[in-house]
């Protein structure tokens, strides 16, 4: 317990220290411009990190509660954005209503998929079959998008416009709002997990499924709901980020892979872990791309993954809240 609090503190200090030192260094070495760029990158990392955290926690939840690593997780990020686009284009619904409807749709898919596909496979001869199914699902979804919407990136309509002045550079409001909304959702999730019955049932399930069911937790309906919630979290990320990162059929693949890295780094079933893990990954990627090599941006995640698996396979926060 004590060690855990230390880990949060250490990490927060580390990140704060990095920002502080970096600011000073870049100001000294590169002048005001360098400093602006640094802060820009920091803000970008925080925003991207926030969104990553959502996707990651969605996966973490499903993995922790259902013991299933949903290989198609990233594709629900894409799905939500495409469904929103469809509502806008086909029905003429306004963007916000489309977004919310899309989210509801993705959330509803959770129990449907869980009951029809995953549960029978999971309880069959070999639990590994369940995620071979998610593999097939991913293939199916990506090609569905390809067939319906074509291979070229699409841009969902922006909801926020304008820019903020950040030490001389302009940071798009859209991105900032994405980060803010992500942060609000994370806080909401925290309170949900800590204080609602559902949240407590979830935490119990993650720690010890059998005992939880003995205490009256209706395991199967919670699993179905959690799957829906996990998918919805991936969906929200796609909706938030779609307008500026654009959506194409394989858009969700990289976020999905990164979500996996973050879940391993942060610890399965842990909200804190997803948040801190996401921040670390986002910072590493942004600054790695800026100062080391842009082409290998995605490789940093892989590096983090391997290091975590070698040195601390249960992740930074194990199974804590």
């Amino acid at each position: 317990m004590v060690l855990a609090r230390k880990a949060e503190l250490l990490l927060s200090l580390f990140i704060a220290g990095f920002i502080f030192l970096g600011s000073i260094l870049t100001y000294v070495v590169y002048g005001a411009d360098g400093f602006s760029i640094f802060i820009f990158n920091v803000i970008n990392s925080l925003v991207i990190g926030g969104v990553y955290a959502l996707t990651a926690f969605g996966l973490s939840l499903v993995w922790g509660v259902m013991n299933l690593c949903n290989f198609a997780h990233g594709d629900f990020y894409t799905l939500a954005a495409y469904v929103q686009l469809w509502f806008i284009m086909a029905i003429g619904l306004n963007p916000i209503a489309s977004a919310l409807t899309s989210l509801l749709f993705v959330f509803a898919l959770g129990p449907v998929l869980e009951r029809s596909l995953l549960r029978p496979a999971y309880y069959s001869i070999n639990p590994q079959y369940a995620w071979l199914i998610t593999f097939g699902l991913s293939l199916f979804l990506q090609n569905l998008f390809l067939n319906i919407f074509g291979p070229f990136p699409k841009k969902p309509p922006s909801l926020f416009f304008g820019k903020i002045d950040v030490f001389g550079l302009y940071y798009p409001n859209e991105r900032a709002m994405a980060g803010l909304i992500a942060a609000i959702i994370v806080v909401a999730l925290y309170f949900m997990l800590k204080y609602t019955w559902y949240g407590r049932a979830l935490r119990a399930l993650v720690q010890d499924r059998e005992t939880a069911s003995l205490f009256g937790v209706n395991v199967s309906s919670i699993m179905a709901m959690s799957f829906g919630l996990g998918l919805a979290l991936a969906g929200i990320s796609g909706l938030l980020v779609g307008p500026f990162l654009l959506i194409d059929p394989t858009a969700g693949f990289r976020p999905g892979l990164k979500a996996f890295v973050i879940v391993v780094l942060g610890g399965m079933g842990s909200l804190k872990g997803s948040v801190f893990g996401a921040m670390i990954l986002a910072l590493l990627e942004t600054f790695g791309a800026a100062y080391i090599s842009p082409g290998y941006q995605d490789a940093f995640g892989f590096l983090l993954l391997i290091l975590t698996l070698i040195f601390k396979p249960e992740g930074l926060f194990g199974k804590e809240l």
Binding site: W63, C69, F71, L117, P120, A121, S124, I125, N126, P127, Q128, Y129, W131, L132, I133, F135, G136, L137, S138, L139, F140, L141, Q142, N143, L144, L146, N147, F253, L257, F260, V261, V264, S293, G295, Y296, D298, A299, G301, F302, L305, I306, L309, I310, P313
Partner: protein, 321 residues
């Protein structure tokens, strides 16, 4: 393993030789396009069989398999082009390098189970793809690397026999490995790893061995492909190619040797026949994978076996009348 109704060795050899004779005679009857299709089918047979060995037999489901094919291809190509290594030697060298790297990946993943292994392998294959894309000096990046032919005067027709021979050799080699002592040991590990270890099985070594062999044959397939097709790109090692190998194995029959032998031709040839429908084919594969795992996890081989049992029972019943 009962070869259905085969009783003596003569029949066994016939069953074995007939398809080979058929395949050897085939090119005389086919157009160049269809010979090409058959050659690519052989590529997929080796790729899918090696994945099946890794996943179905040693229980290590990896979603990064195609990376080894691309490693084999690029190694062989670079050796032949930049270092003037004779193509036949470059071919084997490509396979060996893929084998070694597979062994390294296997060693890193040996303590991981299920999803961790699959996704680390995926992360690894993305890393490989990134390297191939970024290091343009050696690999020409996404524009593709031109590869010299395997031998002077190579044509589609003559290359067919090289490919056929290598495919037959590879499949027989993998068969020998699986239907031997080691096959039994693999099965035991899948049934109960701890009990197997307590009886003296070095589980880690067996798993590494499986990885190395799978990597070797995937690399060999890749190198063969490179020398045939003359132009290789990093997308050879992309997730889609792994999807193909997985789909072929699963639909054909996961965990059986014949599965990929049936699945690869079935899927690839039908995808060629359905070329007119464009991307709809991969959509269908995705759905097929889901349906097969959900309703017939033993794939086509499983269904055929069941059908055969029904037929034999009816035959016996008839005979008794």
């Amino acid at each position: 393993m009962r070869w259905f109704m085969v009783k003596n060795n003569v029949q066994k050899i016939l069953i074995f030789l007939l398809p080979i004779i058929f395949l050897a005679a085939l090119p005389m009857a086919l157009s160049r396009y269809w010979i090409h299709v058959t050659i690519i089918t052989f590529y997929y047979i080796i790729l899918a069989t090696s994945w099946d060995l890794l996943a179905g037999y040693s229980g290590q489901i990896s979603f990064g398999h195609a990376a080894f094919a691309s490693i084999g291809a690029y190694t062989a190509a670079i050796l032949a082009i930049d270092f003037s290594v004779p193509t036949a030697i470059a071919l084997i060298a490509g396979a060996m390098v893929a084998c070694l790297i597979a062994a390294a990946l296997g060693a890193a993943c040996v303590k991981m189970g299920g999803a961790y292994l699959a996704l680390t392998a995926l992360g690894f294959s993305e890393l490989v793809r990134l390297v191939l894309v970024n290091e343009r000096e050696y690999t020409r990046g996404p524009m593709g690397l031109h590869v010299p032919p395997l031998f002077e005067g190579q044509t589609t027709f003559t290359y067919y026999y090289v490919q056929l021979a290598m495919t037959v050799i590879s499949v027989i080699a993998m068969y020998k490995i699986l239907y031997s002592q080691r096959g039994l040991v693999f099965k035991a590990i899948l049934n109960d790893e701890v009990a197997a270890g307590a009886l003296g099985v070095d589980v880690v070594r067996e798993r590494l061995f499986a990885f190395s062999i799978a990597g070797f044959f995937a690399g060999l397939a890749g190198a063969l492909y490179a020398f045939y097709i003359g132009l290789i790109t990093p997308s050879m090692g992309a997730l889609l190619e792994t999807f193909n190998a997985v789909s072929m194995t699963v639909i054909g029959g996961y965990g059986t040797l014949i599965g990929p032998l049936i699945g690869a031709p079935l899927l690839y040839i039908s995808s060629e026949l359905l070329r007119a429908y464009g991307e709809l084919r991969y959509l269908t594969f995705g759905i097929l994978v889901i349906i097969v795992i959900r309703f017939a996890p033993e794939g086509l081989v499983g269904l055929l076996k069941k059908a055969l049992i029904v037929i034999m029972r009816r035959g016996l019943a008839e005979g008794e009348r």
